[in-house]
Amino acid sequence: MMRPFVEAIRTFRWEPFRSVDLVERLGYASGYARNFLSQATRQGLLIAESKRGKKEKTFRANPDVVREIVLRGGKEKTELLEALGLHSKFLGQYVALRGFSVVDHDADLFRLAERIFPDTEAQDEAVITNVGTPKKILTVEI
């Protein structure tokens, strides 16, 4: 499920797309594309939208998923950040993401955190993460 989702983000970012776009742009079989859209929508990865007067639904990636994937970490996080194009712009840095938007970035984790979370009361929904291996990586000897 994550692989076609990441591919969809890589291709369409947060713009709406249709089932036929998956077939034409990603080369998916129509049955596979329909199945993916149905499952991904049920799982909350995609948001389905239907415009009045138009028969075909459009889909777009759910921005809330970014936070969930970053907090889960691991390979999925790396793939998502790469699909969002962050590796080419912020490799070796820390970024603060709100949905799909990079709201701030810095090579120093603590400087970035000071700006994003100035106090513990701040209810900012932004999440902080590294893009690739940080140039100023935290080291713990034990």
Partner: protein, 149 residues
């Protein structure tokens, strides 16, 4: 001309493992909870604070992200938390990012720009302060003054 420094506030080593290890007492607070912890002093940690699982659970902290760190065993990904650290003896009170690890650790960012005494014989970790301040703080004898060149 050399200036004198003396032993200021001390924290006892924790002897729950052998050999005992230095600790420092800190108050950590989140939006809703506050806890006093005694993290292990880790001079190999270049951050300020790492919170052990128990501290995270007690304070009901929610992660604000995940970052890659380099540990002795290799790279690993850990959660980060926004917390306020207070330590009156160090005149510290600031909000920062703490990483989530197996056990709580105090890193070099908390120790920097101060003089410390690692007293393994006396099993204590102490802040060194100018003599007058040290006397005022602990009332210790002249034997605990040191010359700083």
């Amino acid at each position: 001309m050399p200036s004198q420094i003396g032993v200021g506030k001390c924290w006892a080593f924790n002897d729950d493992e052998e050999p005992p290890y230095p600790t420092i007492e800190l108050t950590v607070s989140s939006a809703h909870r506050k806890a006093t912890i005694s993290p292990k002093v880790d001079t190999g940690f270049n951050g300020s604070l790492a919170l052990g699982r128990e501290a995270v659970r007690k304070m009901r902290l929610t992660a604000k992200g995940t970052v890659l760190i380099k540990a002795a065993t290799g790279h690993s990904e850990v959660p980060v938390y926004a917390v306020k650290i207070s330590q009156p003896d160090l005149a510290l009170s600031f909000t920062t990012i703490a990483i989530g690890t197996e056990r709580s650790l105090a890193g070099r960012k908390l120790l920097e720009n101060r003089t410390w005494l690692l007293d393994c014989k006396g099993r204590r970790f102490c802040l060194m302060t100018p003599t007058s301040a040290a006397k005022k703080h602990t009332g210790r004898s002249r034997e605990e003054k040191y010359e700083q060149t």
